[in-house]
Amino acid sequence: MRVMWLVASNTFKETVRNKVLYNILLVAAVVLLLAMSFGDLSVMSRVQVMSDFGLATMSLTGLLLAVFIGVGVLGAEIADKTVYGVLCKPVDRFQFIIGKFLGLFVTLGINFILIALVFIAAITVMTTRAPQAAIFSAVFLLMVEMSVIIAAAIMWSCFTTPTLAAIFTLSFYVAGHLNDLITLSADVQTNPFLKAVLVALHYILPNLEYFNIRTQVVFGLPIADGHVMFAALYGLLYTAVLLLISSILFERKDL
């Protein structure tokens, strides 16, 4: 636990000093500002536009942070060989992986919360109404989604170059959000082999749409009972599995 905490705190220090973080946050702030003005141009209410834009921005920001910082945080360690300084000590490789994940998650989580606070404050100020509780659930699920993406970024970094790992992570995100389409394709597929492949893909890839309740928040639709809890557990399980695979891959890696 001590070692994981040390690696996590060092990763936290490293990532908060990363300029990419601040560039992405700046972009997020600009998009949120634009969302305020777009409210007057849309047929939807200003709150709906801001909620839609805000949550979409947070999802995208989370993705960009996870990809650009997440991939670098392990890939750069391996490429720069700073990993030697840690793994030459009596440190398990899985402790290193978990520590990296935790450090990155805490950094991105804090940034996520900051964006969310700005976003919720903007809605409150613009509409003079308290934001609906569903927004908090939506932000929470986006954080769970981010943990899955960070774990995926770390997993890809374990066996490929940072550039390829970034591409794979982006593809993972896109495929994860299209998982429902894969199911639909499998249903209409007549070739049994292709059908089996699509079904396998459906089960292997995470369904990231579970973490997306933006439509419910924007249009004030009800959220199914237990959905948030189910999605959080699903995300937690996926994160754990991805970190387990990362640990196994990293354990076998020559450094």
Binding site: V3, K13, C88, K89, P90
Partner: protein, 318 residues
């Protein structure tokens, strides 16, 4: 107990798109006894760094195994009490010198209350006192390597593994490092260090392991390695009568001008009894200025080239 045992390790890498097999190390076995300074020698590409990485659990052997402190090197606990100083200093550039030492200290389990004292001790040992607040990236390569060494001195390591620690260092830093090696050796610590500089081996090591082309060429004491390159016994005399010189040449001796020009050097082959020659010189009224054993320099012994006795250049004896 052998503190480090390397048992028939082979490492084959797959390189490129076609996964061409490249053998970095092949069937290497050796062991390090406790409380000794052992040099690890070999030309570039000999497989020294790969072997050290396998010993530290950074690279998995294709076959064979390494035992560190009595446990398999892959087991992290085996690295407790072992410190490794890499050839290049690899540090987190966002940390300061003090933070780097503290981070390393806490990783090896130094108690929080002792971290500050440990930091002062190791930074003092490498003459970096007062640099705690400097960013690592602001240090020169030499100073970074000193910091690397400082991190290696943390805790109470029983075994210190250095991979070309003095590579690219200026003379004062080399002197400092050599002094540290001597001190650590005197404290009874086991040191295993790889180097190209054979002078360092002769100066500080008792044992040596020689690799070449990924294979073990020699393992044993430096003195037994040097004895393989024994050239004989050299007598330096003020002058040598021609008749006696001829007689000695006929018996296999080599006669030449002494290196400093102050007399005549007579080199007796190692298989001959030097005392016989000493007596013969005495009986002929020739007194010796000096008598010493001559061996090929380690460099000539390992890699061939100049530095032989009266006969001049000789090929590597291994």
């Amino acid at each position: 107990m052998n503190i480090l045992s390397v048992n028939g390790i082979t490492k084959v890498y797959r390189r490129g798109f076609r996964a061409v097999r490249v053998t970095a190390v092949e069937g290497v076995s050796f062991a390090l006894a406790e409380n000794r300074i052992t040099g690890f020698v070999g030309p570039n590409g000999a497989g020294k760094t790969t072997t050290i990485k396998m010993a530290m659990g950074l690279v998995r052997p294709t076959s064979g195994g390494v035992t560190l402190m009595g446990a398999a090197a892959e087991v992290p606990a085996s690295r407790a009490g072992v410190s490794y100083v890499s050839e290049q200093p690899y540090f987190y550039k966002h940390l300061t010198v003090g933070e780097t030492v503290d981070f390393s200290a806490r990783l090896i389990g130094v108690k929080q209350a002792s971290v500050s004292a440990e930091r002062k001790r190791v930074l003092g040992a490498v003459e970096l006192t007062g640099r705690e607040g400097s960013k690592v990236r602001s240090l020169s390569k030499g100073l970074q390597q000193r910091l690397n060494m400082a991190c290696g001195l943390l805790g109470d390591p029983k075994l210190l593994i250095f991979d070309e620690p003095m590579s690219g260092l200026d003379p004062p830093s080399r002197r400092l490092f050599r002094g540290l090696f001597k001190k650590l050796g005197d404290e009874g610590r086991t040191i295993f260090f790889s180097t190209h500089v054979l002078e360092d081996i002769e100066a500080v090591c008792r044992d040596v392991v020689v690799l070449d082309g990924g294979k073990l060429r020699f393992t044993g004491s430096v003195s037994s390695l040097l004895s393989k390159g024994a050239l004989g016994t050299e007598f330096v005399v003020p002058s040598l009568p021609d008749k006696l010189a001829e007689e000695l040449r006929a018996e296999g001796g080599e006669v030449a001008q002494a290196p400093d020009g102050g007399g005549v050097a007579l080199l007796i082959p190692p298989q001959k009894d030097a005392t016989e020659y000493q007596r013969k010189l005495y009986e002929n009224g020739v007194f010796c200025v000096s008598i010493r054993k001559r061996t090929m320099p380690l460099e000539s012994l390992l890699y061939g080239g100049g530095g032989g006795g009266a006969g001049g250049a000789k090929e590597g004896a291994l």
